[in-house]
Subunit: 128 residues, 3 copies
């Protein structure tokens, strides 16, 4: 699955794409692994109803890992690696009735920390 981001820091709701994948895979019950093969991006399962929540999380992450902070890594994107450490590159989600078993307010977000870029998301589903 491909994702295109258009800001340095951005949360993108990828829930519909994952559910499309599950529909094609035809697995009714099991677990779904969502995986990001990048070191300056990540994933979060968080509130999708109010976009201000994503803005608040991104603003606080910027305080926790400021873009400029005397880092040693010469590429200038150490803050993105730190945010990627905090987000994590993988989430495992139960599948019920052929869909992600999300809570009422939950959505799966791709977290861009060094965009804009073209990114990949790997999805794997195990029946069980």
């Amino acid at each position: 699955m491909e994702v295109k981001t258009d800001a340095r820091n951005q949360f993108l709701d990828i829930t519909p794409g994952i559910n499309d994948f599950l529909a094609q895979a035809g697995v009714k019950e099991g677990i779904c692994l969502v995986y990001v093969p990048h070191t300056t991006a990540g994933l979060t399962i968080n509130e999708g109803a109010d976009p201000d929540v994503a803005e608040d999380i991104l603003a606080q992450l910027e305080r926790m890992a400021p873009h400029n902070n005397g880092y040693r890594h010469a590429e200038g994107n150490s803050a993105a690696h730190i945010k990627s450490f905090l987000a994590g590159a993988q989430k495992t989600i139960p599948v019920t009735g052929g869909k992600l078993t999300l809570g009422t307010w939950q959505r799966v977000f791709f977290c861009e920390f060094d965009g804009p870029r073209k990114r990949k998301v790997i999805i794997k589903v195990l029946p069980g």
Copy 2:
């Protein structure tokens, strides 16, 4: 599995409930997915012997994401969404001999960040 919290921020040891579930499921070897369908809660696997460890983690999370911090989200619980981002909503744990393969000091904690509330925990086990 249901959980009842009685403070705004609280860690609740849910290890016994998960092991009960595994005993009923009858799976001896495999992996267990523990999943929280909430956006202001999470999970951690951490020390259970001294309750001061949970207190120290919660106090430091409060410094990293203060309850009042000029957030945009109008519901007043942005800090809980940030802490939920940091904790994560899911943990996958090896199962051996029909039980969670935890280290000596490890316990699985439900992390409440916007309580008190009634909460749900979804458990899924795959043999393998």
Copy 3:
């Protein structure tokens, strides 16, 4: 799998050991669970090309959870428990062609936060 650390805070690349395990297990397609049974250590999937990235992450974690910070836990390693909370004890990674499906820059690191010590890593692979 055993790991030996030689500093209080350290990232150790354990990717080769995991791929060796996968080669022995003979699973071509599936998911691999990497699990740390410790409460003052963790795991991250992050950049392995430039060691400065690990140094930058560790330095920022030290700012987020300073070693001395008036913690209550008497053993003096509360910062390590907090860093362990942030890293997480488990990562689930897709397996393709008998190997971890990592991105170009991704490596799996054991995160020591209370070393030097001898540590264990549990690896489990499910076909699918």
